[in-house]
C-alpha cells in the first residue's frame, strides 16, 4: 500500500485518531468505527485492506509524520499538513466511485457471476454446449442454471443483451470496454482484468482502479428497474454486504414501535438496537425525528459547526441530560443534510 493512499484518507483535515482509521480499513464493524468512517467521509473504504497488519499501518503513519506530511498532535491524534494536502492534490487521484461499505464484501463474486452468466447465455444463444465454463464449482453452476430457467430462452437472451447495452451506455466508453473485453462467450475468450491495465501501474494502484470501476458498475446496476434480470441476479449478493441483524431491525423499524418494544420484538438488547439504528442512519432513509426529542434538537441547534468536531463529553458537561444516542443521530442527520445541499 502507498503512504499517499493513507494521506488521501486524511485529506478531510480534521484531527483524528489513527487507530480508528486502521480498524475501518480492516473492517471492524462497531458503531464507533462506522461513525468515524461517516464523519470523515471514509466509510466507503470500510474493510478495504482486511489483510493490512497494524505494524505495517503504523510504519506508514510514522513515515508520513517524518516526512512532515502529517502532524502529530499532543493528544496522539494526527492531522494532514499543508505540504501533505499539496501532495494529495498533485497526485490527482479520484476514487469517489469506490464504495467498499456497500459492495466490498461480494464485489468480486458478483463480477464472476456476471461473467459466467454472460458466457452461459452467449453459448445458449448459439445453441452450443461444448465449451469450458468459466466457473467449475457445481454450486455456482446450479445457481446460474436456476436463474436462467426462470424465463423463456429467447426472452432471456434479449433481456441480457439489452440490459448490458443500457448499463454500458451509462458508463464511460473506457470503462464499458474494460468490462466488455473481459466477457467470454461463443467464439470469444475474454481478457483477464490485469491484461487490460497498464503494466507499469503497481499492484495496489491496479487494485484501486479495478475497485472503482467495479463499484461504479454495481452502482449503475442497482439503478436498473426491480424486475430486470441482471438486477435480480446480483441483488442477493449485494445484500450480503449488509449486517444481517441490522437488516432485520430495519424491517421492524416500519412498525413505528419504541426502542424498548423493538428490542423486545427482536429479542436483543436495547444497546444493540441503537447500534443498528445508528448504522442505518448513516446511509438509509431514516426517521430521525422519531428518535430525537425536541429538547435535544434545541440544545444541539445552538452548537456551532463543524459537526465533525462536536464532542459528546464536552456538550454533556453543559447539558448533563443529553442522551448519547440522540446526540449521534442528530450529528448524523445534520451532516447528511449538509452534504446533500453542498
Amino acid at each position: 500500500m502507498k503512504p499517499t493512499f493513507i494521506l488521501a484518507l486524511l485529506q478531510h483535515g480534521y484531527k483524528v485518531r489513527t487507530s480508528t482509521l486502521y480498524h475501518l480499513l480492516k473492517g471492524k464493524r462497531t458503531s464507533s468505527v462506522l461513525l468515524y468512517g461517516f464523519l470523515y467521509e471514509n466509510l466507503r473504504f470500510f474493510q478495504f485492506t482486511p489483510d493490512l497488519s497494524e505494524s505495517k499501518f503504523n510504519q506508514l503513519i510514522t513515515r508520513l509524520i517524518e516526512q512532515k506530511l502529517l502532524y502529530q498532535t499532543s493528544d496522539d491524534k494526527v492531522q494532514i499538513t499543508a505540504q501533505g494536502e499539496m501532495l494529495v492534490q498533485a497526485a490527482d487521484k479520484d476514487f469517489s466511485q469506490i464504495d467498499n461499505y456497500r459492495f466490498g464484501k461480494t464485489d468480486e463474486a458478483i463480477w464472476r457471476l456476471l461473467q459466467f452468466t454472460v458466457q452461459v447465455v452467449s453459448h445458449l444463444s448459439y445453441v452450443n454446449k461444448a465449451y469450458i465454463p468459466l466457473e467449475q464449482s457445481p454450486l455456482y453452476q446450479k445457481q446460474v442454471k436456476m436463474y436462467i430457467k426462470s424465463m423463456p430462452k429467447s426472452l432471456l437472451i434479449k433481456n441480457v443483451k439489452e440490459e448490458w447495452h443500457y448499463i454500458f451506455s451509462c458508463l464511460g466508453r473506457k470503462d464499458a470496454n474494460f468490462f466488455a473485453q473481459q466477457f467470454s462467450g461463443y467464439e470469444r475468450t475474454g481478457k483477464a482484468s490485469f491484461q487490460l491495465m497498464e503494466s507499469r501501474q503497481k499492484a495496489f494502484e491496479q487494485f484501486l482502479i479495478k475497485k472503482a470501476k467495479l463499484h461504479h458498475l454495481l452502482f449503475v446496476m442497482e439503478q436498473l428497474p426491480e424486475r430486470s434480470f441482471l438486477k435480480r441476479l446480483v441483488a442477493p449478493l449485494i445484500n450480503q454486504n449488509e449486517n444481517k441483524s441490522m437488516a432485520e431491525t430495519r424491517m421492524y423499524l416500519k412498525t413505528e414501535s419504541s426502542l424498548e418494544i423493538l428490542a423486545q420484538q427482536r429479542g436483543i438488547k436495547v444497546s444493540t438496537i441503537k447500534d443498528h439504528l445508528m448504522e442505518l442512519a448513516l446511509t438509509n432513509d431514516f426517521p430521525f425525528e422519531r428518535f430525537i426529542s425536541n429538547k435535544t434538537g434545541r440544545i444541539l441547534a445552538e452548537q456551532s459547526k463543524p459537526y465533525q468536531e462536536w464532542e459528546y463529553r464536552t456538550i454533556k458537561n453543559i447539558f448533563p441530560e443529553l442522551d448519547y444516542f440522540e446526540f449521534r443521530l442528530y450529528q448524523i442527520q445534520k451532516l447528511r443534510e449538509e452534504r446533500e445541499y453542498s
Partner: protein, 480 residues
C-alpha cells in the same frame, strides 16, 4: 462386436489417426488388462482413459498430482461436450465438496488429488462407486527415486484394495528403469500380468539448442522476434514471468502474457484459452503451465532459467510440436543460473533442521506448532503423528531427497555442458536405445543452425479480428 476405434476417435475426438501407443493402451484396457503406459509428452496420454471412459459403464477415477493438471483435464473434457466431470481437490469449498461427494455417481470422470483421495470420508464414498477404470496419472510420483515423489502416492495400493482392485492404468511420460520398476511394485501389487506400453522420450521434430549467453534478455528477444510464432518462455519464478512478459511487451510487437500459480483459477483458464486460440504469441510461464495443454502447434519452448532436472526439462520442451511439425527448444544459460535451485535446496535443509528440533520435543508441542508450518512441512509432520514413520526416518528421507535433487541438477548442468549430442544424452539418461536424427535437425552440438531451422517452422494461423468496442462485443456475444 468389435469396436471401430478409429471411427470413434474421429467421431468423439475429431482425430483421424491415433498417436503412437494410444491404441495399444486402449485395447489392453478394453480387454480388462492392467496397463502401465510410458508415453512421451505430446502423445495424448489422457485420450486413452477418455476414450475408454466413453466405452465402458461406470466411473473413471483419475488420480492426479497437480491442481493445474486437473483443471486442464476438466477443461479438455468439457470442450468435447462432456459435462459429467469434476475435479475433487482442495480448491473446492466445504459445501462444494459435500455436494460433490453426495452426487459422486452422477459423474463419469472424477479427477482427484492424492491428498483428497486419502481422506477417510472420501475413501468411503469412492469405495461405493462403480469404478470402471482407476487411472494414476503422472505415476512417476510414486517413485522415491524421482524428483516429484509424493508420499500420498504410496497409499494408493491400499485404496485400490478398498475399491476391490479395479482395472488400473498407470500413466507417465518420463520413467527411468528404476522408476518404472517402482511403479510396477507400488501400483500393481496384486496383479501378476501387467501390460506395458513404452515409447521413447525422444521427440525427433524438436530441435535442441543450448545458448550460453552473457545477455539473456537480448538473446531471448532475438529468438522470439525471429521466430514470430507461438511459443512458451519458461521461467523459474513468478517474478521472472512478469518481468520477461513486460520486456517482450515493451520491446516487441508480439502479444505476450504471463502465467503462474499466483493468478486465480479463472485467470489461468482464460490465459490458457487465449494461448490455445492464438490470441497470444508468447506465454511467459512457470512450470504451473503446460501439463495437459491442448495446443498442437506450440512452435518453440524457451527456458529463460535453468530447469531443476532433465526429467522436468524433457516434460516442458515436450509441449512444443505436438502436431509433429518442426519446432525448437532453446535453453538460455548464464553462468550461475543454477543458484536459484540451491536456494530451494537450502529450504529443504531448513526443513530438516526444523524436524530435528521437533524430534527433541514432546508430541503435544509438535501438535501446537502445526499451524506455523508451511504446507509441505505440515504434510511430513502429519505422517509422523500418524506413526507412518519416525522423525529419524523422515529426516533420512529428506536427506536422500536433497541428494537426489542435487544429482538431478548436476545431470541438468551436464546436459548444458554436453558437447557431442544432446539428444543422445537424453536417451542415454532414460536408458533408451539411441536413435539418431539428421544432424541439421538434431541439436546445436550436431550442427543444427537456428537460422536454417527457423525457416522450416510453419507459422500458426493468425487470430481472428477480435472486437474491442463494447457495442460490437455485445452484438457478437448474443445471437437473437
Amino acid at each position: 462386436m468389435k469396436i471401430d476405434l478409429e471411427q470413434l476417435l474421429y467421431d468423439k475426438f475429431g482425430f483421424s489417426s491415433f498417436k503412437p501407443g494410444q491404441k495399444e493402451v486402449i485395447e489392453h484396457l478394453l480387454e480388462k488388462h492392467d496397463t502401465l503406459a510410458v508415453l512421451p509428452t505430446g502423445t495424448g496420454k489422457s485420450l486413452c482413459y477418455q476414450m475408454v471412459g466413453q466405452l465402458v459403464q461406470g466411473t473413471v477415477i483419475i488420480v492426479s498430482p497437480l491442481l493445474s493438471l486437473m483443471e486442464d483435464q476438466v477443461i479438455q473434457l468439457q470442450k468435447k461436450g462432456e459435462n459429467r466431470v469434476i475435479a475433487l481437490n482442495s480448491s473446492l469449498s466445504f459445501l462444494e465438496k459435500q455436494y460433490v461427494l453426495n452426487h459422486l455417481s452422477e459423474y463419469k470422470f472424477i479427477l482427484i488429488s492424492p491428498e483428497t483421495l486419502t481422506q477417510k470420508e472420501v475413501r468411503n464414498k469412492i469405495a461405493n462407486v462403480n469404478i470402471a477404470l482407476f487411472v494414476i496419472d503422472e505415476a512417476h510420483c510414486v517413485s522415491q527415486w524421482g524428483v516429484d515423489f509424493r508420499p500420498e502416492y504410496t497409499k494408493l495400493a491400499k485404496i485400490q484394495e478398498e475399491c476391490g482392485f479395479p482395472l488400473t492404468l498407470a500413466l507417465t511420460a518420463t520413467a527411468t528403469p528404476n522408476v518404472k520398476k517402482e511403479i510396477l511394485k507400488q501400483v500393481f501389487t496384486q496383479q501378476k500380468a501387467v501390460c506395458e506400453v513404452v515409447f521413447s522420450v525422444d521427440r525427433p521434430n524438436i530441435g535442441l539448442i543450448v545458448n550460453r549467453t552473457l545477455e539473456k534478455n537480448e538473446t531471448l528477444l532475438s529468438y522470439v522476434t525471429q521466430l514470430k510464432s507461438k511459443g512458451i518462455v519458461y521461467c523459474a519464478t513468478r517474478k521472472n514471468t512478469e518481468k520477461i512478459n513486460q520486456l517482450i511487451n515493451e520491446q516487441t510487437d508480439l502479444k505476450s502474457a504471463f502465467y503462474h500459480g499466483g493468478l486465480t483459477t479463472n485467470e489461468r483458464s482464460l490465459l490458457q484459452q487465449q494461448f490455445v486460440s492464438n490470441q497470444l504469441d508468447v506465454l511467459c510461464a512457470t512450470n504451473a503451465f503446460g501439463m495437459g495443454i491442448d495446443k498442437p502447434d506450440v512452435r518453440f519452448v524457451i527456458h529463460y532459467d535453468c530447469p531443476d532436472s532433465l526429467e522436468n526439462y524433457v516434460q516442458e520442451i515436450g509441449r512444443a510440436g505436438r502436431d509433429q511439425q518442426p519446432s525448437i527448444a532453446v535453453l538460455l544459460y548464464q553462468k550461475g543460473d543454477e543458484s536459484i535451485h540451491y536456494y530451494f535446496q537450502s529450504e529443504s535443509r531448513l526443513d530438516r533442521t526444523l524436524l530435528n528440533d521437533l524430534a527433541v520435543n514432546q508430541t503435544e508441542d509438535t501438535k501446537k506448532i502445526m499451524p506455523e508450518l508451511n504446507e509441505i512441512q505440515q504434510k511430513w509432520l502429519q505422517g509422523y503423528l500418524e506413526k507412518e514413520y519416525t522423525i529419524e526416518e523422515l529426516e533420512q528421507r529428506l536427506l536422500r531427497k536433497e541428494k537426489e535433487r542435487q544429482q538431478q541438477l548436476n545431470v541438468m548442468l551436464n546436459y548444458i555442458k554436453e558437447e557431442k549430442c544432446r539428444r543422445t544424452f537424453i536417451q542415454r539418461y532414460f536408458s533408451e536405445e539411441v536413435t539418431k536424427s539428421s544432424p541439421e535437425s538434431c541439436c546445436d552440438c550436431c550442427g543444427l543452425s537456428f537460422d536454417n531451422f527457423k525457416r522450416q517452422i510453419v507459422q500458426s494461423p493468425e487470430e481472428k479480428e477480435i472486437p474491442e468496442q463494447w457495442e460490437d462485443i455485445l452484438i457478437r456475444l448474443f445471437k437473437e
